[in-house]
């Protein structure tokens, strides 16, 4: 029904932005497009802005923010923007001139303040807009591709310049949140250009990547709409992983096919106007240059004689039993977007509720689809943390407090400071703390947002923690309690969710490292959507399923056997089907 996505037949603009829910194949599609264009003889620059970049896995070499030429693909240069590192470099450049001129405690005080999320975001956007507006880069390359971060993050980044340049031009007090980033004002033109380039349909295309599944398509629609609101109208939709039947009467293949086709028939209304292409489902893993190069061309069946380390693979039931027996109070399901954190969080909630425990199931995922998955009742309470709502609530709280001592005119001044991006982080953080604080009379199960976002949240928790020991501000008890609580392994468990594929497993490993650094405990891993656990006879799916084995073994090893596996399910897992999952 859709044409194949093949850059050989589509005229593409100079700037291409790939966006979509995590795990839909943004990285693969961006890489494949970049390689295809480079193979045509075009000069191509591929830039990753994903805080948890996948590009290194795909190309199998370490990358830098300046750009690394790829040996096997002449004409292709790949750059990886790590916002955290950019922030670190920025911090260093601010502090270095004062070493020796100011005492160490003073420098430390400066450094602490420059560790905020403002700095990370500014530094990231700064690098990002340099690529868009740098004249040399413009001349040097025919195409510049951005493999962007998960949608929420992308949108925030895109929202920055307009929001912030308003802030800068309106600001009369100087000493605001942005004031700490000296030199920002001088970048105003660069940011303005970056934004106008984004909104220029002749120069820029937004490529929405989705899977032929319900949630990712909804997410694509959301991203499409939000970006249109930001003035980005030139959009393409690419549906990745569309199954072409290669066998008759295979239950699994038929189910997958039917499920995909149904999702595509019910594609959200506003996406129907968008030119749409497909990338077929491939049997091979999308890593290594050979496979990436093939992605937009053809399939081949390839598998080695892999052997499972364990004969009997454990189920989710074992995980729930352990969480119950060890009396955990705060349970997170963490992982890259699209791996099934929501489903697992819901299954854990139901499993614990069945044992007579009061459960509070909550989501910080901006895409919030928890309510589609589980119904409230039977000992389960549902809630969500909505960034926009939290920001509004926090703003109102602050203003109410300010009104006690200040005149209306000065409140306008406070309002201005409340427009800063720091405020949003703090607002979300406070809501998060309050929910965890309630874990005294109920078990809290939190379905967190995609990896990058989650880490920022946790990171904020940590630097917060350092800051609140010094600050004299009015800090809610819940906020003070949060980090010690998260670090207490008797109370808290982080369940890492992944898929039996290369990139999701690597991602999850990095996530575990970051958790360790933050002093947060992880014992359990869950592998979701395993085709190996089904009995498909489709050559394509069977080959694909055998390629899962090394990744299952890897998780077995990392988790020291504390893992559970969930078979691929033909249906959207909700309601009754969730109960099946925990049997």
């Amino acid at each position: 029904m859709y044409k194949l996505f093949n850059p050989d037949n589509i005229k593409l603009t100079k700037y291409l932005f790939f966006t979509g829910k995590g795990g839909v194949g943004k990285t693969s599609s961006a890489c494949a497009t970049a390689i295809t264009l480079a193979d045509q003889g075009k000069k191509v620059l591929l830039v990753s802005t994903d805080p948890a970049s996948n590009l290194q896995d795909v190309f199998g070499i370490s990358l830098t923010s300046k750009g690394t030429p790829i040996q096997e693909v002449p004409n292709l240069v790949v750059a990886n923007l790590n916002p955290e590192e950019a922030a670190k470099a920025y911090k260093e450049s601010v502090i270095a001139p004062y070493k020796g001129k100011l005492p160490a405690s003073v420098l430390q005080n400066m450094e602490e303040q420059l560790s905020g999320s403002c700095t990370v975001e500014i530094a990231a956007f700064n690098e990002f807009s340099n690529f868009i507006t740098d004249e040399k880069t413009q001349i040097e390359y025919d195409h510049i591709l951005f493999d962007t971060a998960p949608t929420g993050h992308t949108l925030r980044m895109l929202q920055l310049p307009s929001a912030w340049s308003n802030f800068i031009s309106e600001s009369t007090h100087g000493a605001s949140c942005l004031g700490q980033l000296s030199g920002l004002e001088s970048k105003k033109e660069v940011y303005k250009n970056a934004v106008s380039t984004l909104a220029d349909g002749k120069l820029t295309t937004l490529i929405l990547i989705s899977r032929p599944e319900y949630s990712p398509l909804q997410e694509a629609e959301r991203a499409s709409r939000e970006l249109k609101e930001l003035g980005v109208h030139n959009q393409l939709l690419v549906v990745n992983g569309v199954l072409e039947l290669d066998i008759e009467n295979d239950q699994i293949a038929d189910k997958l096919y039917a499920k995909q086709q149904e999702a595509l028939r019910n594609i959200p209304e506003s996406l129907r106007e968008t030119p749409t292409y497909k990338i077929p489902l491939r049997a091979y893993n999308i890593t290594g240059i050979k496979n990436i190069r093939m992605l937009l061309k053809e399939d081949y069946l390839e598998s080695q004689n892999y052997k499972l380390n364990k004969e009997e693979l454990p189920k989710v039931k074992a995980l729930i039993e352990d969480l119950y027996a060890s009396k955990k109070r705060v349970i997170f399901t963490m992982g890259k977007g699209g791996v099934g954190k929501t489903t697992l969080a819901a299954a854990i909630a139901i499993g614990l509720a069945e044992k007579g425990v009061k459960v509070h199931l909550t989501t910080t995922d901006p895409a919030d689809h928890l309510k589609f998955v589980v119904e409230e009742g039977h000992g389960i309470r549902l809630s969500k943390i909505d960034e926009k709502d939290e920001l509004r609530n926090y703003t109102e709280t602050v203003l109410a407090k300010a009104r006690e001592t200040m005149a209306e005119e000065d409140i306008a001044y406070v309002e201005e400071d409340l427009r800063s991006p720091c405020t949003q982080e703090i607002a979300v953080f406070r809501a998060f703390a309050e929910i965890v604080d309630n874990a005294d009379d109920e078990i809290v199960v939190i379905d967190t947002a995609p990896t990058g976002h989650t880490l920022l949240l946790l990171d904020a928790t940590q630097s917060y923690h350092k800051e609140i020991q010094k600050s004299q501000g009015d800090i809610p008890q819940a906020v003070k309690n949060l980090l010690p609580r998260l670090r207490d392994e008797k109370e808290t468990e982080v369940v890492i969710v992944t898929l039996p594929e290369a990139t999701p497993v690597y991602e999850a490993m990095r996530l575990q490292e970051d958790l360790k650094r933050a002093g947060i405990n992880n014992k359990w891993w869950v592998i979701n959507s395993s085709l190996l656990m089904t009995n498909t006879q489709s050559p394509l799916l069977k080959t694909k399923s055998l390629n899962e084995i090394p990744w299952i073994n890897k998780v077995d090893e990392i988790s020291q056997g504390n893992f559970a596996i969930i078979p691929w399910k033909g249906e959207e897992i909700k309601g009754e089907k969730l109960v099946d999952l925990i049997r």
Binding site: V94, N109, M110, S182, T405, A407, A412, G473
Partner: protein
């Protein structure tokens, strides 16, 4: 009229709203500074993270920092002389050093010009 300078410790923003909690003290100082500026008083705030150079260039501030470390902030200077360290001026001190009476500061704060200063539909 006297010139007042305040050397702030590093913080997210002048009102402290970007910090982990709401700090009434910082709100008070920000408001007073704002009011005095409108009254024509020369009052300048230097943030450690935004203008570190000022903390090097001002010899007196630099001496205090070198001797008493970061805890000595905030430092208030009136006409070149350090008048207060380790905390912000009180309302009385602000009045005394600026020459604007306490009542006037309070009255100015209560006064409303051009509505509430909001531009987006209605009042705050």
């Amino acid at each position: 009229m006297s010139k007042i300078e305040i050397f702030d410790p590093a913080m997210c923003c002048a009102t402290g709203i970007c910090g982990p909690g709401i700090d009434q003290e910082l709100l008070r100082v920000a408001t007073t500074v704002n009011t005095l500026t409108k009254k024509g008083v020369t009052i300048i705030r230097y943030g450690l993270s935004s203008e570190p150079q000022a903390f090097v260039d001002n010899k007196k501030v630099n001496e205090y920092l070198m001797k008493e470390e970061v805890e000595v902030l905030p430092i208030t200077i009136v006409d070149g002389e350090v008048v207060k360290t380790r905390s912000y001026p009180t309302a009385d001190e602000f009045a005394q050093w600026s020459g604007v009476s306490k009542d006037e500061i309070a009255a100015a704060a209560a006064e409303k010009e051009n509505g509430c200063g909001c531009d987006e539909g209605g009042c705050c």
